[in-house]
């Protein structure tokens, strides 16, 4: 499997007129493993949400090569999921089969077995009947990874997948991410840990609302780029003038 490319064409995503992602252009290569890095408020989660289709661009577009957007595997931030909802672990994992079962289709025995195998792969054998509210943060994140495994998506987007997760769980989940990469899927993860990015992610998009650097991790995460990202992220102009792209100015 080789995941499709995702192209960002002059993408701007704004909240109340203020751009959280500003004139971003570039491509996530097919089968690439990319970290999105940057300070809080740099637009990382906003970009992921725009790719998934959760946020509508204020300008530009997200373009996919041979991919239906609903085929993206998406791991939202843990805070966006209602953990107290009375649903058990196996049913949560089975949601990964949504594209096969849809809103109304039945769940076959084979699918149930696949969900149990996915649970075993994230070291949660025997947890199927537990309510998700009983799980630790790390266990719950494993459940969401099992759901992604069942989704079998060619593109996987992870929004802060290792936040509040212990070292052993992180290592296990990173191994799964590496396996997805080896299988040729396009994997994009929003991360904060620079060491982790350098060790496990060959490519990095460094954001500070605009693109600071995008390419091989060693170069993108250079001290000069990180300094520039920090300086840009701290800038917030409440009375900024209306943005007029250079093309219009030239015209």
């Amino acid at each position: 499997m080789t995941g499709p490319a995702i192209r960002l064409d002059d993408l701007t995503v704004a909240y109340g007129g203020h751009p959280a992602v500003h004139h971003l252009s570039g491509s996530f290569r097919p089968g690439s493993l990319t970290a999105i890095a940057g300070a809080n408020g740099a637009g990382k989660s906003t970009l992921v949400k725009a790719i998934v289709g959760d946020l509508r661009p204020a300008g530009g577009a997200v373009l996919f090569d041979d991919l239906d957007r609903s085929a993206i595997g998406y791991l939202p931030q843990a805070a966006e999921i209602e953990r107290r909802f009375p649903i058990d672990v196996l049913d949560t994992v089975l949601l990964g089969a949504w594209r096969r079962c849809g809103a109304f289709g039945g769940v076959s025995r084979a699918l149930r077995a696949a969900a149990e195998r996915a649970l075993a792969a994230v070291r949660l054998d025997g947890f199927g009947k537990r309510p998700i509210g009983d799980l630790s943060a790390g266990q719950f994140q494993r459940v969401l990874f099992a759901r992604l495994m069942l989704q079998d998506a060619p593109v996987i987007l992870l929004d802060e997948p290792f936040t509040a997760v212990d070292a052993r769980t992180t290592a296990d989940l990173l191994a799964i991410v590496a396996r997805w990469h080896a299988e040729g899927r396009t994997v994009i993860a929003v991360l904060h840990d620079h060491g982790q990015i350098r060790r496990h992610f060959p490519e990095t998009l460094l954001l500070a609302r605009q693109c600071v650097a995008w390419g091989a991790t060693g170069e993108a995460m250079s001290p000069a780029n990180l300094d520039r990202a920090n300086a840009l992220a701290e800038r917030w102009l409440e009375d900024a003038p209306v943005c007029r792209p250079a093309v219009e100015d030239a015209a």
Partner: protein, 290 residues
């Protein structure tokens, strides 16, 4: 007094008691699962607000029909309830107000408008009927409408169960797989309005939501899976209806409030005796070895 006299005679002797009992059973079966989902979606107060929001429509139906007509009041209530839902949704999506705040604003206006319409054109007795219901006055036609709403409600809920559950606990996932969360949310609001209309004549606009929220709260105190919660909620509503009717018959109390109070008593009992209740804190339970 024998057990037969206590439990059976009120229903065997009086047709209006039998109809009231069937209405309670139907309302319990329809409203129980809806209440559980409302509570899990943290929309308990939205349900309450909605029950008031149907008032102006129901009041206009009441006046147009020249008295209590569940069909006329139901149609008016449906239009008013859906209008308030849609306007609240619109305000939530286009302003900084959250859904509960926009609902609060619209339902207060609706309640005031409804009370104004009934008190201007009807008597104070009419107003009492609209506000507190008259379950003992339910006729066969009203019963058929309640049965229709309950059947429709259960069938729709069964049909949209999966997307509704996902929309409730992981809306981001549903959007990412192309699920139309807004559509299911709207269908759910429609079911709430329909069930409130069904409960309208029995419990009135002020307590119609009682058969939804109190049983749902009880269910959440006793069980931990969604199907079990729905079953316990239905059971609680049905038992509240039966016991409430018996109590109101023998004690001479108003039926609607007695039914809601019985549900409230079960709720208080569950707070004390439920698995996470006050009593459980007095006794230490043995823990497992691993």
């Amino acid at each position: 007094m024998s057990l037969y006299d206590l439990l059976i005679v009120p229903f065997s002797d009086y047709g209006f008691m039998r109809r009231a009992l069937v209405a309670c059973l139907l309302l319990g079966v329809g409203s129980g699962p809806i209440g559980v989902l409302l509570m899990l979606r943290r929309m308990s107060l939205v349900g309450d607000a909605m029950s008031h929001a149907v008032l102006p429509g129901a009041a206009i139906g009441f006046l147009a029909a020249g008295g209590y007509s569940l069909f006329a009041m139901g149609a008016g209530g449906l239009v008013a309830g859906l209008t308030v839902s849609l306007l609240s949704g619109l305000v939530t999506r286009t302003t900084v107000l959250r859904e509960d705040a926009s609902f609060a604003a619209f339902y207060l206006a609706s309640l005031a408008l409804g009370v104004l319409i009934v008190s201007a054109a009807g008597s104070s007795r009419d107003l009492l009927h609209v506000l507190f219901g008259s379950i003992l006055a339910i006729d066969a036609a009203s019963l058929e409408l309640i049965a229709l709403i309950t059947s429709l409600s259960l069938a729709t809920l069964a049909f949209i169960y999966r997307p509704l559950v996902v929309e409730c606990f992981d809306p981001g996932f549903l959007r990412s797989v192309g699920g139309r969360g807004g559509l299911y949310h709207f269908l759910f609001l429609l079911l709430i309005v329909l069930n409130l209309i069904a409960a309208f004549q029995a419990l009135g606009t002020l307590m119609a939501v009682g058969m939804m929220m109190l049983p749902a709260a009880v269910a959440q105190l006793w069980t931990r899976t969604l199907p079990a919660m729905m079953a316990v909620s239905v059971l609680t509503a049905v038992v509240s209806g039966f016991v409430g009717l018996i109590a109101s018959y023998h004690l001479g109390f108003a039926s609607g409030p007695t039914i809601v109070l019985v549900a409230a008593l079960i709720y208080v009992g569950s707070l004390i005796a439920g698995p996470t209740g006050a009593l459980s804190r007095l006794f230490r339970r043995p823990h497992l070895a691993g």
